[in-house]
Each structure stands twice: as C-alpha cells, then as structure tokens.
C-alpha cells in the first residue's frame, strides 16, 4: 500500500479496529464496512453510541449508509476531487492542527525551484516524459539544508563502487517496497517552520488544492456544496488536541488507476487534522481476505521479498551493495536494511550464504520491469509463460477481464489448481464462457490440468495476518480428508522432490535450489511443522537461539531472519501469535491477544499521540508519552501501547552531525521508518504518478475532466492488446458508469461461498442495481432481466430498481451508475455471469491494480447465447468505433 507507505513509512493500517470506538468522527469511504466487514463494524457502532459522527461516502446507499449520520453519494472513481475539496476547506480556512503539522510532517520543507505543479502544466507535474509515460522525480526534491547535507550524501555515495543511483520511481512497482520503510530522500532538507516560504510544502499544497472548490467538487463528483461543507465541519470540529477522527477504506479506493493517490489524499487530510498516531484517529485499511496483509508482509508478489525488501532489479542491483545502497544509512530503522537483507539471505541459503559470496545475493533472480499478474496473463496468451500454479485463487471469476484470464490458461502447457472445490479456473476448458461462444474448443486446448484438493483452515495449523497487522494462530482441529493437503505440505514436498531430482547436478542454474535451506521437522504424517517455519520467519542468532526484536539483526551473517518485521513473533521461543488472553482480562489495547507487527505496536507512529515536548496533547486523548522520571531520571516513553519510537530517546534529542539509521531520528520525529522522520504531505519520491494527488478520470468515463486537459492518469499502465478493448470516454454507446462490489453473503470469486447451501440460499443469483430514472430511461423492470455491455463482453443479471443508487447531477447533466456484485460464475450451487468479465485492464502505475470502474450500456432482457454473444458485443465495438484509433489524452 504505497499510499500509506510513502505518507507514513509503513504500508499497513495505522490503527486497530477496537480503537475506532475512541473516535469522535468516522469517515468511511471506498468501503461498505457494515456489509463487507460486518463484525469489525461493531466498533464503528460503539463509537456512534458514544456520540461520534459517522459519515459514509459511497456511490450506493448501503447498510453502512443506513446507520451513518450522513450519506454522501459520489460518482465512482472521483474520490480525489471530493477529498481534495476537504483538504481545500481545511487549508483555505486555517483549520489544520498547526502544531502537529509543523512538528511532525514535511509541511515546512522547501522544494526545488524547478518544481512545477499540475496547475502550471494543465494536469502534469514537472519531470514527465511523454515518450515513456513516466516521471523523473528530481524536480520534486527537498532543497538541502546546508552544504553539510550535500557532503553527507556524497560521502555515503562514495562508500559504494560506481556512481550514484536514485530515481527509483522509474522501477516497476518499486513504491510497493515502502511497506515498511519510506522512500530514501537524499537529506532531511531545509525547513521553514513559519510555513510562509512560497516554496515550502505547505504553500505548494495550499495552491495545489485551491482548485478543489465546492463548485468543482459538485461538477466532478455530483456532491452538493452543502454536503461537502457538512463533512468538512464534522471532521474539523472533531480533530485537534481534544478530539480525533478516523478514516476507513477498502478496495473502493485501491482498485482504481489512481488508487494509491486516493489513499494519499486521505493521508494528507488526516495529517493536516493531526489524526495519525493518536487514539481514535488513523486510517483503517480494511483488507478483504483473511491474510491479504500477510500476503504482502511475507509476499507472494513479484516485486518484493519478505519485509518489503525490493526484489533486485537487473538494471540497478547486481551485488548486495547495490541492492541496499539507496536505503542504507538513511535516517530511521529502514537505514539498517543491510541487516534485514543479509538475515533473509541467511534464512534462505543457510550455511551456503557467506560474506565471501555476498551471502548468495547472486542466487536471487532479478526483475526487469512489470511481471505482475496481468502482464503475466498476456505472456501466457503470447506463449512466453507455460506453467501456472493457482493456489486458492480463481482468476477466471475473480480477476478483471476474465476472458483474458481464460485465454491465457488455455495457452499453457500445464496448470496446477489447488482448491477446496471445483472452481471455474479448473474447468475453463470444459464449460467456460468461451466454450459456449465457440471462441475456445475443448479438444483444441492443450493445457494439462492437475487439480489437487487442499486442506481447509481447520485442517492445518498456521497464522493469518488480519487487517490491523495482527498475526493470529489457528490450531489444527481435524485431519484433511482423502488427498487434501495443506499448501505448506505441498510446497515442502514439491521442493523436496525437485531437489532430489536435481541432486548431483553441476549446472550453475541449479545451485540456488540445491543450496536451499530446506530442512523442516516433520510430524508423524510427514508434514512440515508450521511452528518451525514461523520460528524461521522470526529469526535466530549465532547459536540458533530465537531473537526477540529486529534491532538484534546483524549485517555480518551471524543472524538469520525470514521476515524482519515479524521478528518478535516467536520471542522467548513462544508462539506469540497463539496468545489468547480473553479481552475481559485485558485493557482495550489487548496486547496479549495475538501479535502485531512491528514489535506488537497496536497504533503506529504513536509518538505523535504526544505533543513535541512529550506530554499528551490532552488528557482525553492520552496514549503514549514521555516519562522523564523513569529509569532513574534518564526518562522513557510509556503509555497504553508499545511506544513506536526509540524507547529512551528524549523529546528534545537532536541527532549528531552525520548520524545514520536509528541514531539520526530526532526526539520529534515520530515517523521512524521515514528517511527524514516526518510524515509526507508532499512525496518528493516514491510514487510513480506525482508528489501530490490530482483528480484524473477513470480510463473509461462518461465525462471530461473538468480540471485539466489531461483526461486520465498520464502514468497509468495500459494494456493495449486486442483482448482488452477500451470503451471510448464520452461515448453515447457506453453512456453509464458501472462499479462492482461485494455482498455480505458471498466471498470474492465465490469458491468459498457459492458452494455453501446457507449462503447460496441467502443470495441466490446475480443482480444489478439501477436508479428509477435509469430504469425508466432504458425500460428496465424490477425483477426482470438486464444485459450489461462493455467492449469486452455482455453479461446478464436480474434488475433491482432502487433509490439506493442516486442519479447524480454533474453540472447540467445526470450521470447514472450501475451497481454489480461480482461473485458469480458458472460453477457451484448458485451460478450466473461474472461481472469481472466486463471490467477493463488499466492499472495504477504504483501497484498495478486494476480500475474497477468503467462505462457500459444496459438493456432490458437476457443476453444472446453462443456465438450470437460475440457478434452482439462486436456490433457495440463497431458502433463505438473502437477499432479506430481514438482521441487520446
């Protein structure tokens, strides 16, 4: 989550669900929390019961809206304009929490003279290269404080062979490596704490957001000025020393071509209001799957290694030194990156990793660009990738542009599917939609398919990392039936067999496999012990003793650690994730339930819950503070949580000249993973699409961008292939907006819910939600059928005519939106067309996540069958002139 990572230094929710109950105001946007996270929502209701104001901003009126004090309907995909409008309200009326902003953010930093804003360049920042579609962020940099800053940096650079290497924003999805360590600025930079310098971040921000007036917000989002003012009033009157406001979001923000910047806008707003690091404040990222957070912390992602260490890039990283040089020695704990990197290599290759061979750095494969899932599917279609493992994932239904997914799988040599049920991704060759249309023929599909049944969550022990960064251990209840096995057992067994088959090979390419540390204790059934794996993740010292904190990790190879941010989860040789002390025996922080990274801290950046002098901002919002009397007068941070700070660093501490890593953190630098210790209102580095958020239209939109000539995110990742035709914007053929969403009773691609009778009965078939005005316009009947069409395909669904979807007035026109739950596919107890087949592939340039919003047409009646369907969609493409090069901005 680079939106959070570049703002604060870590890409995780800054707070925990229970703490929402301490908020005085909660803004939920990009999330239908009551339906998608129902049990977590109890904490919002607790806050409401204590008098908090709850606001829901969403295209649809949902159960979340129903219990909110205010529902603000918004055009899907226009969130930056709305949040920008709030930022403008705060800045132009001096409603920010000035003491917090000056001390804890980079508001005072001076930016280079040659920086140009989108206001100057009609929607582009300085540094844009139209050839590559990428930014060079040099002009966004901090001005150095003194000659000393420059000399320090030169000295640091000279410690490495070769020239300097900055400009990481060019690297594929590099910004994702800010999951636990901010982007490496060259220096802390010059500051003007009066905030008057026209080149300081605060003034730049003020000018940038001045454009987002209530009138512009109305024109872009369809939100009335009065509603914007009510939200601004609620937030600003519930922020400051005595009060705090919290934000909750989910994939309603992440799944856009500007998704990271939506989250950035919220981060800026929360920083201006002084709500980060404080009880009842923060940004709650609501993850949609049991261990999404865990899957990025210990990633199965192409661009990062455990603990957000970047995958080496062939262009920059051909040695251990080159790999760590951008970050090593920078202020804060990310400056110790070499210790984390070497310890990971030791946990991968054990005794084979020595100082003489760069700890086997060369065994790491290098990336050279975008190798994300959607690019990989294209590689499959083009025959460049032939083997595929699907492990509890159903891309035939769950991924955007499902047809591309199925065409990709049909072009493989072999496919391994591990799941509980016979999901659509395992049967595409037999009964997928393309078999029906004749686009694929079973007898012509050469893919060899292995379906391996998997164990369920109660048939294996292990840990999930849930939405507030908490690892919780599950015990094993029963043995898996038949051939069902855990994925842990499968991968252990697969690795063992591959190593056996390659044993004795002298080929250099096999060394990383043969030297791999792959000895895990087995239980009676021959399964690897998951606690032994967690212990390896936690890390051990020179004599194999368990470590208790990542501060113990060393760069000399004497420690090993599989994921440095999880160091401590096995402290004292005890599985801390398995702690289950009931909440009635603990305070609300409940520090002895599970284990939270980092270091069991529940609210991140909690040093900011105290004023710069170390005293609580107020009694009411007391959380972590400086106790000057502790430790015989040496002083110590203390409070309700584990302080997210150097425990004995006094508030008035000023780092020595040339200090590096944690030593360079000042007593008033609460953002200890940032390379300057401050939270970023302005991101001088780390994001591919600009230092500040700017509203761009989704790739498919019925309206022109009223702000600039630049219609779309200029750096968006496009997939310009015949399988991914894009609807032209402002088209009469596709006049409506559609957006997809979840239901309480189903789970994502449906493999875990459409197969269960209870859930299938509760939500028995796909439907679309339309406003009464749209229903009248197109002759749609409540309870009847509708066909929804995009340039990719057409699907059918039952019609639900409801005022829950509001016709939005934008200037002199209305925009209609179609709401589509996306859980269905051809298999299971309840079946239907898959809404994701409608979605185009245009990706956020930071994280390569697709935009779930697009344009469509909707007509009454069922869709055509067989080859008539492809002809029907082709006719739409002809009418919209989609094969002709269209106007591109």
């Amino acid at each position: 989550m680079p939106g959070l990572g570049t703002s604060f230094g870590r890409g995780g929710a800054t707070t925990f669900l229970q703490d929402l109950s301490n908020a005085d105001c909660i803004l939920i946007e990009g999330s239908n929390m009551a339906e998608a996270h129902p049990v977590g929502f109890q904490w919002v209701m607790e806050a409401k019961r204590r008098g908090a104001t709850v606001i829901h901003v969403d295209p649809r009126f949902t159960r979340t809206s129903a219990v909110a004090d205010l529902h603000v309907p918004i055009r899907a995909g226009s969130d930056i304009a709305f949040l920008g409008g709030l930022v403008n309200q705060v800045l132009s009326n001096d409603l920010d929490f000035r003491e917090y902003v000056v001390a804890y953010t980079n508001a005072a930093n001076i930016i280079e003279d040659d920086f140009r804003d989108t206001e100057d360049l009609d929607g582009l920042f300085s540094g844009f290269d139209p050839e590559t579609g990428q930014y060079d962020p040099d002009s966004w940099s901090y001005v150095p404080d003194s000659r000393r800053d420059v000399e320090d940096e030169e000295r640091r650079d000279q410690a490495y062979s070769g020239g300097s290497s900055h400009g990481e924003s060019h690297q594929a999805a590099r910004s994702e490596s800010h999951g636990s360590g901010g982007a490496p600025v060259k220096w802390k930079g010059r500051r003007d704490e009066t905030l008057q310098d026209p080149s300081c971040v605060f003034q730049i921000l003020k000018r940038h957001f001045a454009r987002y007036t209530p009138e512009v917000v109305q024109e872009v989002c369809g939100i009335e000025p009065d509603q914007l003012r009510r939200v601004a009033e609620a937030l600003t009157s519930n922020s400051g020393r005595e009060r705090t406001s919290a934000f909750c979001y989910a994939v309603g923000w992440t799944q856009h071509s500007v998704g990271a910047q939506m989250i950035r806008t919220a981060s800026i707003l929360q920083l201006l209001l002084g709500n980060i690091g404080r009880p009842g404040g923060g940004i709650m990222a609501l993850r949609g799957h049991a261990s999404i957070q865990g899957s990025t912390d210990i990633p199965t992602l192409f661009n990062i290694l455990p603990g957000y260490l970047p995958m080496p890039n062939a262009k920059q990283h051909q040695s251990l030194d080159e790999w760590v040089r951008d970050d090593e020695g920078k202020a804060g704990f990310w400056g110790n990156i070499r210790s984390y990197a070497v310890s990971l290599l030791k946990s991968y290759w054990g005794d084979a990793a020595t100082p003489d061979n760069d700890f086997c750095f060369d065994y790491l494969p290098r990336i050279t660009g975008d190798h994300s899932t959607y690019s990989t599917v294209l590689a499959m279609i083009e025959g460049r990738c032939k083997g595929y493992f699907l492990v509890g994932e159903n891309p035939a239904v769950g991924s955007s542009n499902g047809k591309m997914q199925r065409l990709g799988m049909a072009a493989l040599d072999w496919l391994v599917v591990r799941d509980l049920q016979m999901i659509e991704s395992a049967t595409f060759w037999k009964d997928g939609p393309e078999i029906e249309t004749g686009e694929l023929v079973t007898e012509e599909i050469g893919t060899e398919v292995f379906f391996l049944p998997a164990a369920t969550h109660v048939e294996k022990a292990g840990s999930f990392t849930q939405t507030q960064r908490m690892l919780q251990w599950r015990d094993k209840a029963v043995e898996p039936p038949g051939d069902c096995r855990s994925d842990l057992q499968f991968y252990y067994e697969l690795g063992t067999r591959i190593r056996q088959k390659l044993a004795g090979s002298t080929d250099e390419m096999d060394r990383p496999l043969l030297d791999l540390a792959w000895d895990y204790p087995l239980d009676d059934g021959g399964d690897p012990d998951p606690e032994a794996v967690l212990r390896e993740i936690n890390g051990t010292g020179p004599d194999g003793e368990v470590l208790s904190a990542y501060t113990q990790l060393k760069p000399d190879g004497s420690t090993s650690c599989g994921c440095w941010i999880y160091c401590g989860v096995y402290a004292d040789d005890v599985n801390q994730a398995r702690r289950r002390k009931p909440h009635w025996e603990q305070d609300q922080v409940a520090a002895e339930w599970g284990w939270v990274w980092p270091a069991n801290r529940r609210i991140l950046y909690n040093r900011a819950s105290a004023a710069p002098d170390g005293t609580p901002w107020s009694e009411r919002k007391r959380y972590v503070w400086w106790d000057a009397e502790a430790d015989d007068g040496k002083g110590r941070w203390t409070g309700a949580d584990v302080p997210d700070f150097v425990p004995d660093r006094a508030p008035d501490f000023v780092p020595e000249e040339g200090a590096q890593g944690p030593d360079a953190i000042g007593g008033q630098d609460p953002f200890i993973m940032q390379t300057d210790g401050k939270a970023w209102l302005f991101a001088p580095l780390g994001l591919a699409d600009g230092p500040m958020p700017t509203h761009y239209e989704p790739a498919e939109s019925p309206v022109r961008n009223p702000l600039y000539g630049q219609q779309n995110n200029p750096t968006r990742k496009r997939m310009e292939v015949p399988q991914n035709p894009l609807n032209p914007s402002w088209s009469d053929v596709f006049p409506y907006v559609f957006t997809t969403y979840r239901l309480t009773e189903h789970h994502t691609a449906g493999g875990m819910s459409r197969t269960l009778p209870y859930l299938a009965e509760l939500q028995p078939e796909p439907f679309c939600e339309v406003s009464p005005r749209l229903a009248a316009e197109r002759g749609l009947e409540n309870g009847g059928w509708a066909t929804i069409v995009t340039g990719r395909t057409a699907i059918e669904a039952r019609v639900l005519v409801t005022r829950r979807l509001r016709s939005l007035r934008l200037g002199d026109r209305f925009v209609e939106q179609v709401g589509l739950p996306y859980h269905w596919g051809p298999n299971g107890i309840t079946t239907g067309d898959s809404a994701n087949d409608l979605v185009n592939l245009t990706l956020d340039p930071n994280v390569y996540i697709q935009d779930k919003v697009g344009t469509c047409d909707i007509r009454p009646g069922r869709r055509p069958r067989g080859s008539a369907l492809t002809e029907y969609v082709a006719e739409y493409r002809r009418r919209a002139a989609m094969d002709v090069q269209r106007e591109e901005t």
């Binding site: 998608a36 049990v39 993850r287 049991a290 261990s291 999404i292 957070q293 899957s295 990025t296 210990i298 990633p299 199965t300 992602l301 290694l305 455990p306 790491l364 290098r366 990336i367 050279t368 899932t373 590689a379 083997g387 493992f389 509890g392 994932e393 891309p395 049920q421 016979m422 060759w429 037999k430 599909i445 398919v449 049944p453 369920t456 969550h457 109660v458 292990g462 840990s463 999930f464 507030q468 908490m470 690892l471 919780q472 599950r474 209840a477 038949g482 855990s486 690795g495 591959i498 088959k501 990383p512 791999l516 993740i537 599989g562 289950r580 009931p582 875990m752 197969t755 209870y758 996540i849």
Partner: protein, 187 residues
Amino acid sequence: MGLVEFLGWPLVRQVTGRDRLGRGHAAMSRRSETLEPRTVQADRVVDSVCPFCAVGCAQKVFVKDGEVTQIEGSPASPISRGRLCPKGSASKQLVTSPTRVTKVRYRRPFATEWEDLDLDTAVDMIADRVIKTRKEFWEWEADSRRTRRTLGIASLGGATLDNEENYLMKKLYTAMGAIQIENQARI
C-alpha cells in the same frame, strides 16, 4: 383432552406463564427440554480464525469423533467478541461440504473429461514439469544484465494462504528463479 394436558399447551403456557413472548420456556416441549446443542457433545474444542475477510474473528471449532460438528465465534477475542457474520457462521459448511473435491483430478491435454490420478504420481509429474519448463525458459541475461531467472513459470495465490505457506512458496520459487509470483493482494 384432560385439563392437565390442555394446560401444557405452548399457547396456554405463554399466556399464563412468565414467557409472554413465547421464545423461551413456553415454546419448549418435553422433547426439546431434553435436547442439547452439538457443542456440548464435542470431544474437543479447537481455537481457530475465520478464513473469510480480514477482520480475523476468532472461532471455536467443535470436533466429535474426528469430524467437525460446529464452528462458532469465540467470545474471548478482543476484536470480534464472539460474533461471526453470515459467512463465518457458515464455515462449518465450508469444511464439511459434500461437494468438496477430495481426490486428485487430472485432465490430459486435449481431453474432454477428468481422470483419476494418484496424489504421489501427480506431485512427481508436477516436479518434472517444473524442472523442464524452468530450463526451457531459463534466462541468464537480459539486455546484457544478469537476470538468473525463468519466465516460464508463474503462480497466483489466494489471500487465505497462511504466512508460513507464503513463506515457503516465495522461498522455493525464488530459488527456482521464478519471478512471476503473485497474490490476490494485487487484485
């Protein structure tokens, strides 16, 4: 009908007794009074975590004779305080579903139907294919920069994988030189 029997009618008990809403004692029969929940008969109760969304509600798994008989919310959790949503409440059906596939299925290239395959053979065949495809698509260099990788093998994992599973997966794939390793976290 005798008077005693008539007084035993649920409606009469509801009107005359304390349970005016008829949701407690008044609604019970002689038989239902002797019933007890499955949870009482469990041999073991095992602590778990709901596998659906990321709230991470704690679950109690009730086991009798090696079978899961019920899954309920665990009141001890500071996050969920015993609650489960419709999906979490249905998770017993998730693990005991009669449509769950419990045998390996194999589809030969160009075949129209599934076949049976022994698990051990299947894993062995997969290992062979990994070795072959890895070599076929091996790349030491790209644009004269060392890459040491294979672009022939990809993986996409769901986010119901355990941390320990993700760890072993990434470790093995990285040692293989496979880089197109992805997860629902990007989707």
